[in-house]
Symmetry: C3
Subunit: 291 residues, 3 copies
């Protein structure tokens, strides 16, 4: 129990996010916002709206989990210190003369460091969400998974929704459907930490936090260096989906139509055309079945 | 008090919804989801999103009432048993090989049985919502009506909203405006049970539940067999709207101004076309009435 | 302390909003709703939806603040008296024969009186919101500002959102971004009353309420009479934005890069056109400044 490994992970799990890791998280979020086309011009035209959007990018996960648990979404505003910290980072990022921050951030090592530290905060958010949900619902393990997921990766949902309200984002079913890599890895972590919380995993939490964080940082940095969206889950997902939803043997006999249907739908995104196609397919299928 | 009728209704009002009626409700909801064009293909492409949509179809009313009362919308996830039940029904409905479930459901008697049992759950939801709202606001009878209505028929609103966020549904003012038959009958039931709750109706609750449920099931099955959207409320609505909003005599004389005014106003905006048409319709109706 | 001025403001600050000022607020809100193209025709086609929209117009600010503080958004429905008052005003406004109300309201003095009384209610709402938020978060002055702002000017946000759901309103980034004059003045008042609440302003609340209300009423009536959207904040905003976000000297020299960069980024996305225009405008402005 007193092995150096244990001490290391224990000390790691007690690291405080507050000053530095939060700064890295805010910096990455605000830079991602500034990368959006026109964000800089909007910041000059209407600083208040830009500040609000930046806050949504920084605190979106917490806001979403508050909404899901019927806690005040404004609670994040009550934490004056973090608000002022994020606001100052938003300020220097957007309004620093000759935007030195963007130029400094454009160096790869800085980006790697900031992204790595942001991934560390993701672990803390997931753990916080799972334990928080556990305090509400003792054995509601589905709720724990959902809240951990919302805290860790809910920011994108909130910002998408804000884009929708602003009208700057025309949603498409496919965009909404496909999960991004952070969403997937956060869901995995949320499931793992929920099982650990409900004593279904025989591993101490600080060890799990250390290992999961290392995995997060390693994959993130690898993806940033090799600039390729590597999907470590692809084979796992394939096997799982084949196990759960596949049954290729029996299924391939009478389900090929649906497969072709899906590929058809994939081509057209404007939802009106594929729907007609789909309904036609369905008709054909039934007629074939009746024949 | 011990009449067989009373015993029957009392026993009926004590029926537990849990295993069988809930199953029927989930089955009808999931089948309605699967009937949507492209839903099956989406389930193959992204099972998680399809599962989420199915849960919204199954628990939408409860979620809406939770939102309106500022209770955690995730509470429905804490009821693991119902979640697993609905999930398994969603699973066998979408991924059963050669989808046997759909074929079995395509037989009319099965549909009638499932639809009838679903209507029974509607009564239980309305009563639950009214009593739940009554525990919050003692004499807030408007809140009781709203919550009973939301629990009973709020699922469609939630799913419409989800469609809107997904972008699969382009809303139109008229769609949103016109109430469906279930919404109307649920509103009626919510009003009735609210009056019974506030002791304005001299009828015991179990009798009222029995009668209202019988009415629901009878109308629903009649509509399904005769495949015609019968509107038992149409004459009632006409008389009511004529009493409240009609005053045709004075109105037809000097309302044309406002009609023309409204169409004038309409010219400026993007929604001018449908409005003008609507006002024309209204005009025609009134001219016919005056003839 | 017993100066007549003090007594006047004290008595003013103790004025009850209930019967008359609330009526004026409901009247102005419902008339603004009726002015919308097609609202009258919709009221005839679907009175329930029109009533719901009218309630949103009348109680929108309170609903928004309830949502932000995770209080039941339906609470406003529990206040039966105000609901019935607003409903009756909605009723006589829309369904009065030969709509006498609209014709009576079309006289300028009536409009001025109603608008002035509505502005008085704005002050009461801001103060109520600030004190209410203060009871939640002792030193969360950002929350206090937000809640005061939401109560005072949140109705427009709620109604915009309702329009979005109905599909009657196609949002554009610019519409969402630019704040209306009431939003600005409400934000100013919310900040002022928050500072007074946190003892940073050495002025008694009733004096502040009197002065702020006088300012509101005066500006509103001036804007209505001279039919010009006067912006008393324009110079203040210019100086502030130049102080905070300006730094024109360094900025105009090296900001063109980011402008062009942003327009480059813009080319990919759907919102590239307006952004490019905006950045062009900004460029022109800066070039003019540099000349």
């Amino acid at each position: 129990m007193d092995s150096p490994w244990n001490e290391l992970t224990l000390a790691f799990s007690r690291t405080s996010m507050f000053p530095f890791f939060d700064i890295a998280h805010y910096l990455v979020s605000v830079m991602a916002l500034k990368r959006q086309p026109g964000a800089a011009a909007m910041a000059w035209k209407n600083p208040l709206s830009s500040w609000f959007t930046a806050m949504l990018h920084c605190f979106g996960g917490g806001i979403l989990s508050c909404i899901l648990l019927a806690e005040p979404p404004l609670r994040f505003l009550a934490n004056n210190t973090n608000i002022l910290l994020a606001s100052s980072i938003w300020y220097i990022t957007f309004f620093c003369p000759c935007d030195l921050v963007s130029q400094g951030y454009s160096f790869l090592p800085v980006q790697l460091l900031a992204a790595g530290m942001k991934e560390v905060t993701r672990t803390w958010k997931i753990v916080g969400g799972v334990t928080h949900a556990n305090s509400y619902y003792k054995n509601g393990w589905i709720v724990m998974i959902a809240i951990g997921w919302a805290r860790g990766a809910g920011g994108s949902i909130i910002t998408n929704f804000e884009q929708l309200v602003k009208g700057g984002w025309k949603p498409e079913a496919d965009e909404w459907l496909k999960m991004s890599y952070p969403a997937k890895v956060t869901l995995l972590g949320s499931v793992i930490f929920t099982f650990q919380q409900t004593k279904h995993l025989a591993i101490s939490r600080h060890n799990l936090m250390f290992l999961y964080t290392m995995f997060l940082v390693a994959t993130k940095i690898t993806m940033m260096i090799t600039e390729t969206a590597i999907m470590p889950f692809a084979p796992f997902e394939d096997t799982l989906s084949r196990m759960l939803f596949g049954w290729q043997q029996q299924f391939s006999s009478c389900e090929k139509k649906t497969e072709t249907k899906s590929s058809f739908n994939g081509t057209g995104s404007s939802t009106s055309k594929p729907i007609a196609v789909a309904s036609d397919k369905v008709k054909k299928k039934h007629t074939k079945k009746t024949e």
